[in-house]
């Protein structure tokens, strides 16, 4: 009798084992947290801030730490200021705000309050603020926001415009515009508008501008303005479909992502020559590249990329990207890590 019981138990166990073996063979899609991996695979000087799953992580040499930012919302798009503090975006479902935080993640100030619907229930009064950037002299903050926009229920239009405001003074975003700010660009309606501002040392502004071709497509060009509301000069063609500009500290070396209106991208580097752009050089071809950013020394380039069409987005690095002989592209983070590809890394010399 005992023998039969053992046999039955073994039979049940074999059925269970077959069932669980199949479960183990399933494709696993969960990405690893940055702090739990073997990253970084390339040790770079200074501190690199990246965004993953709503948190900001700092990579310093071989060490990775998570910034102790308040919980709630998704933190992304860090930008390093000269004093080592950071500008960061905190995004919720219907709005986002700009914060200034310490390198450890302590909130120093909440610079906008883009959630009026919290008190008046009208969702369309909320605003987005994204892609903060600081002028080379450190006095002005530039950003894209969906202001101005029509009053609720008047129109479906909601597009980004580029604005700037003094970094030390207060400003506020509302439907009519940014109080205390200066408007730079007027977007092409119903395209998404103008984003990713990069202020240049000569006072001009470089950014990505989306435009309706009139032929069923929306494309992006790199736009250059010499002053607020001055005419935009296109530095790239609609066919190149280039965006995500990043300018090295020299003020003239530009990295950008060009898709040629396709489903793969090239990471390209070109030089600003007066009000034009020199011939671009492809430093990473046929990739899922996004969000380039330069090292404080201006010779090394970081960007987000997926190793293949199905892979995780990681942080990649090209040494001497602005030079005549760029190095090979190298992945900085472990392949199991999936970073926020639309959030450029910020590289601090500290």
């Amino acid at each position: 009798m005992k023998r039969i019981a053992i046999l039955v138990a073994l039979m049940v166990a074999s059925g269970l084992a077959a069932n669980r073996t199949l479960a183990v063979l399933q494709s696993h899609t969960t990405a690893a947290a940055l702090v739990n991996t073997t990253s970084p695979q390339v040790r770079l000087p200074g501190t690199i801030y990246v965004s993953q799953a709503g948190s900001i992580f700092a990579i310093s040499g071989a060490r990775i730490r998570r910034l102790a930012l308040p919980s709630g919302g998704d933190w992304s798009q860090p930008r390093v200021l000269a004093d080592g503090t950071l500008l960061v975006i905190r995004r919720f479902d219907a709005y986002s705000d700009l914060y200034r935080v310490s390198a450890a993640g302590r909130v120093l100030s909440r610079m906008t309050s883009d959630d009026p619907s919290t008190s008046n229930q009208t969702l369309q009064l909320d605003h987005w603020i994204l892609w903060p950037s600081v002028s080379p002299d450190g006095t002005e903050v530039y950003f894209a926001t969906d202001a101005p926009k029509p009053a609720p229920n008047q129109s479906y239009e909601v597009d980004f415009s580029i604005w700037s405001a003094p970094l030390g003074a207060g400003f506020s975003v509302a439907d009519p515009g940014v109080t205390g700010g200066t408007r730079w660009s007027v977007p092409d309606m119903y395209t998404g508008g103008d984003i990713e501002p990069v202020p240049l040392p000569n006072g001009s502004l470089l950014y990505s501008s989306y435009a309706n071709t009139g032929k069923g497509t929306v494309v992006t060009v790199l736009g250059l303005q010499t002053s607020p509301n001055s005419p935009m000069r296109s530095l790239t063609t609609p066919q190149q479909d280039c965006g995500a500009p990043a300018v090295a500290p020299d003020g003239v070396t530009v990295a950008m992502v060009c898709t040629n209106a396709g489903q793969t991208a090239n990471l390209e580097v070109a030089t600003l020559e007066g009000n034009g752009l020199g011939p671009p050089r492809v430093v990473a071809a046929n990739c899922l590249c996004n969000s380039p950013s330069w090292s404080p020394t201006g010779d090394n380039l970081l960007y987000m990329n997926a190793a293949d069409t199905d892979g995780n987005f990681g942080l990649w690095y090209i040494a001497n990207a602005g030079g005549a002989h760029p190095g090979a592209a190298r992945r900085v983070t472990d392949s199991s890590v999936d970073l926020e590809a639309t959030s450029a890394a910020a590289w601090s010399g500290r």
Binding site: V8, L10, M11, V12, S14, G15, L16, A17, A18, N19, L22, A23, Q26, S27, T29, T30, D93, Y95, L123, Q124, D126, W128, L130, D146, K149, P152, Y156, V158, D159, F160, M189, Y190, T191, G192, G193, I195, S208, Y210, G216, T217, V218, T220, G243, A244, V257, T259, Q263, T264, A265, L288, N290, S291, M304, A306, T309, D310, N312, F313, E340, A341
Partner: protein, 345 residues
């Protein structure tokens, strides 16, 4: 019988008695034990694939189905395969299947797809949902109403008669099914063409009032899109210079990105995918044909995919029957369609 006089003598005797059983008896006992293990293992495997079996029985191999009506099984065997060399045409249908429609679904997305396994070439033609056509019922209306009036068969007949094509198969998916499958697959990698913004996006999947709005924003550039984000990307249309046309292009883009995922789908993934789809999926393909489609999709290179959207002058906006619609210019459309979807191919 030998005898043993030590303390273990009794056991020794028993063992020898047992050994006296005949060889056929031992064979029968061994067979029973083997069968028991086999049954147990098969049961374990069957239990694992139970969700897929349920979906296969309920949602595949169907035709003449009107959602909420009685499904009639198409006479195909479960393991019937797709043609390995000859091209076939598949009509992909997508519906807002949230609670505000109470089972009466329109098809917000209609993509006519031709797959040529031999040349590994795929053509996708998005049919605008507002296209004003003669429906299978004989009356005129927007093409998205065909599914509402007569299920997949009416949608197929309407497309076949108006575009003069032959459709071999159809597959229908609801919103929640799409979100769940994309999440199950870990999302798709896509280069978002531009910032996709909508302050009046339907808040119909968040569990509250399905008639509420929400604000959405999809950032541009290469990124991983999980289910909800991908749905927002393919569904948003209010702040878009090309409205439905633009989201048709984005729907094709997500389908193309999904093909990369099919390379990694194994047999062991089928039950969880079936569970994800729930009742938000229907097709007249057999389970064998569905599984045969995955490796074909995964092997198609990006350069071998042709995308077609019926922008003006193929269509023009009109106000008809108290609603905004798109009038087709069949003189322009039909030769173009015939080029990509030759009848009899």
């Amino acid at each position: 019988m030998s005898r043993s006089y030590d303390l273990s003598g009794r056991r020794t005797v028993q063992r020898r008695r047992a050994s006296l059983k005949t060889r056929p008896q031992r064979a029968v006992r061994a067979s029973f034990i083997a069968a028991g293990f086999l049954v147990s293992i098969v049961a374990g495997i069957a239990f694992y694939f139970l969700p897929a079996i349920q979906v296969a029985l309920r949602d595949t191999g169907q035709v003449n189905t009107s959602l909420g009506g009685t499904a009639q099984l198409k006479p195909v065997s479960a393991n019937e395969n797709l043609p390995s060399t000859s091209p076939f045409t598949l009509l992909l249908l997508g519906s807002d299947s949230d609670s505000k429609f109470k089972g009466d679904y329109l098809t917000q997305s209609m993509i006519l797809t031709r797959v040529d396994p031999a040349t590994r070439h795929v053509t996708m033609l998005s049919i605008p949902r507002d296209l004003w056509v003669r429906l299978c019922t004989g009356s005129n209306g927007k093409i998205d109403q065909a599914f509402l009036h007569g299920g997949a068969q009416c949608a197929i007949q309407t497309v076949e008669r108006n575009l003069r094509v032959h459709i071999d198969y159809y597959a229908w998916i609801g919103l929640q099914g799409l979100v769940s499958v994309l999440n199950q697959l870990g999302g798709v990698n896509v280069i978002a063409n531009n910032p996709v913004m909508d302050d009046y996006y339907p808040a119909d999947l968040s569990g509250g009032n399905p008639f509420d709005y929400q604000r959405i924003l999809v950032l541009p550039g290469a990124q991983r899109m999980t289910g909800t984000l991908a749905l927002e990307y393919v569904r948003a249309r209010h702040d878009d210079a090309y409205g439905d046309f633009a989201r048709s292009q984005r729907q094709q883009q997500i389908l193309i990105a999904l093909r990369a995922k099919t390379k990694h789908v194994s047999l062991a993934d089928i039950p969880s995918l079936a569970t994800s789809l729930g009742s938000d999926f229907q097709t007249d393909m057999s389970i064998g044909q569905v599984s045969g489609l995955l490796p074909i999709a995964g092997s198609v290179p990006l350069a071998s995919i042709t995308q077609v959207v019926l922008l003006p002058p193929y269509t023009s906006s009109v106000y008809v029957g108290g609603q905004d619609a798109l009038v087709p210019d069949w003189v322009l459309i039909r030769p173009e369609v015939a080029k990509f979807f030759p009848v009899g191919s």
